[in-house]
Symmetry: C2
């Protein structure tokens, strides 16, 4: 049923009446082969359907390759990012035996030390850079350009530069999904409140795109009878949020749907719980502990997730496969996972 043995480089060499060294030179364009034998070997490789043994290749590799990973890391402030860690460790463990090392460079997303971090990272002359930036300054872009966009992978919520390899979620589309979920559960002629917490330069673009998707859904459906109110809460402290929400609900007591465009959905849910505001649909983002807790309690209806663990893992592995195994970098983006109380267990580690 199956052929028990794969074609080896030795088999190809024999058929072509050359040595394994020559075949290897052809395979890796290492030169020192005449055009004639080159063509001959290529023909035979295709004829025999030779596929390199990646295991043996990895073992024989003399040169280790090093990936530099730039990720935001903050303790406590935004638990979302800590989620990367498990995915990173998994990828590291799988790649170490392939001679590929992953150096983690952490930057502070609050103080926005990305640029400095990038500079330090570049000094180590990595073979590829895999980064989850908040924003890319022009200086950063120039540095990456000089490094070579083809050796740069961007991932995470704020990934975005067309010349680099990309692995991220479509923020616009996630907002679109959010609007569908919210409107699906609400009567017509209703008002929904979009809440943006922790607004600053770092995450503003992300929230804007999500909101744009949200609004687009309503436009596409000609839902003129459903109107949107929007509030921005600058701080992320419990007190700030409570105060802002209290004020908001004085004006918008009639609201039956909330769309929280960031990961602080749980804080809104807590407010709803404390104020005993019943019968309000809530759609938010990300599987933080707090969010999951309120999802379970029933104060959040849906969470949209981009599974950071999977995202980091895939970004690293896809980069590896692209650079080392000549595979195409996947065009697919990270799926918009829809999480409810019932299937949440399937998505947490």
């Amino acid at each position: 049923m199956n052929n028990l043995t794969k074609i080896r480089i030795k088999d190809v060499a024999k058929r072509a009446n050359v040595s394994v060294g020559t075949v290897d030179r052809v395979l890796h364009n290492r030169g020192e082969v005449s055009a004639h034998t080159r063509d001959l070997v290529i023909t035979i490789i295709e004829e025999m359907g030779y596929k390199p043994n990646v295991i043996a290749s990895a073992l024989a590799q003399k040169k280790r390759t090093r990936f530099a990973l730039l990720v935001p890391m903050v303790d406590g402030i935004n638990p979302f990012y800590l989620e990367y860690e498990a995915g990173i460790e998994k990828a590291k463990a799988e790649l170490i035996d392939f001679g590929t090392l992953v150096d983690v460079h952490a930057y502070d997303p609050i103080l926005n030390t990305f640029s400095a971090c990038l500079e330090r990272c570049l000094e180590t002359a990595p073979d590829a850079i895999i980064a989850s930036p908040m924003v890319l300054s022009e200086a950063d872009k120039n540095r990456l350009e000089a490094f070579g966009w083809n050796k740069v992978t961007l991932f995470g919520p704020n990934a975005g530069h067309n010349e680099a390899l990309q692995m991220s979620q479509d923020a616009f589309r996630s907002g679109y999904v959010g609007a569908r979920l919210l409107s699906y559960g609400l009567p017509k002629e209703t008002t929904v409140l979009v809440i943006n917490i922790g607004r600053n330069a770092l995450n503003d673009q992300l929230y804007q795109e999500r909101f744009a998707g949200f609004r687009q859904y309503l436009n596409d459906r000609n839902i003129t009878e459903m109107s949107i109110r929007k509030i921005e809460i600058e701080g992320i402290q419990e007190g700030d949020i409570k105060k802002s929400l209290t004020n908001a609900f004085l004006d918008y007591s009639f609201v039956r749907g909330l769309f929280v465009s960031g990961s602080h959905t749980g804080k809104v849910a807590r407010f709803i719980e404390e104020k005993k505001l019943g019968n309000i649909r809530v759609v938010g983002y990300d599987l933080t502990d707090e969010n999951v807790q309120y999802l379970r309690k029933g104060h959040i209806d849906f969470l949209l997730s981009q599974n950071p663990r999977v995202q980091a893992y895939r970004a690293i592995m896809s980069t590896f496969e692209h650079h080392m195994l000549d595979k195409a970098f996947p065009a697919k983006r990270i799926p918009v996972d829809i999480i409810t109380k019932d299937n949440v267990d399937d998505f947490i580690p």
Copy 2:
């Protein structure tokens, strides 16, 4: 930042004043080692944090291992199963260089030739069996018992035997999610219709579990005001279905929510489209071409998916990692993916 070199078996041997052969014997319990050196080597392995190089190990492996994969295969009848293929091919390609071969044994789920297939498969004396059965007869169970449950992985919608390794979706929970989605979008005091298409011994258990989950959700919420009607459609031909649905809607014209407990959701959606029945919520299963088409058109609101491609891939890879790399078999089940018109692109190949 990172250690460039892993501890090798040679390093352990030197520290323990033994040869690599002895360390290898300890690592694989091949015996012929005195209790004393055994303990010594184990201690040093733990001290140094030695982790075998899986790449080198795979390359050196003399004995190829063979997995037998038993999957249902029908052309055209139930496109669901064809989905396995991509996942299977991906896993095969990744494992071939690890010296692990995957032989695919296809059985006919309609004629239920599983038992015969299993018997043929056992004659090839595989190292492990990975099967997606419809049902397991007692004879099948006895055969697998004799083969060794610890070498058996069951996956797919009808997986189920506690002693085997398991990779499947929780059917009950998916029904629960379905009920939540349906009730979320419907007013109270409404009637939902559960439609079961293609009922037979093969998929009956699956549908029952989904329905049980569906009903449980309503019970948990004390939704006495939402009532359930249920119809069973034996055939899966277009005509059968249309006739049954026409009859059903004579009785249940007031219904605003449909839960289709199997993969033939698209056929129901077509009926709705043709009869121009507006304002009906539809929740169903599986990303068949037909289903996706009607999801896109807006006649299906949600599809619950168990991503067969991923399921087959994971079943094979997890079995490999469990048997070959001594990793724990993942306890997590396949997530219940919630698919809408907007995020469906993220989930199709």
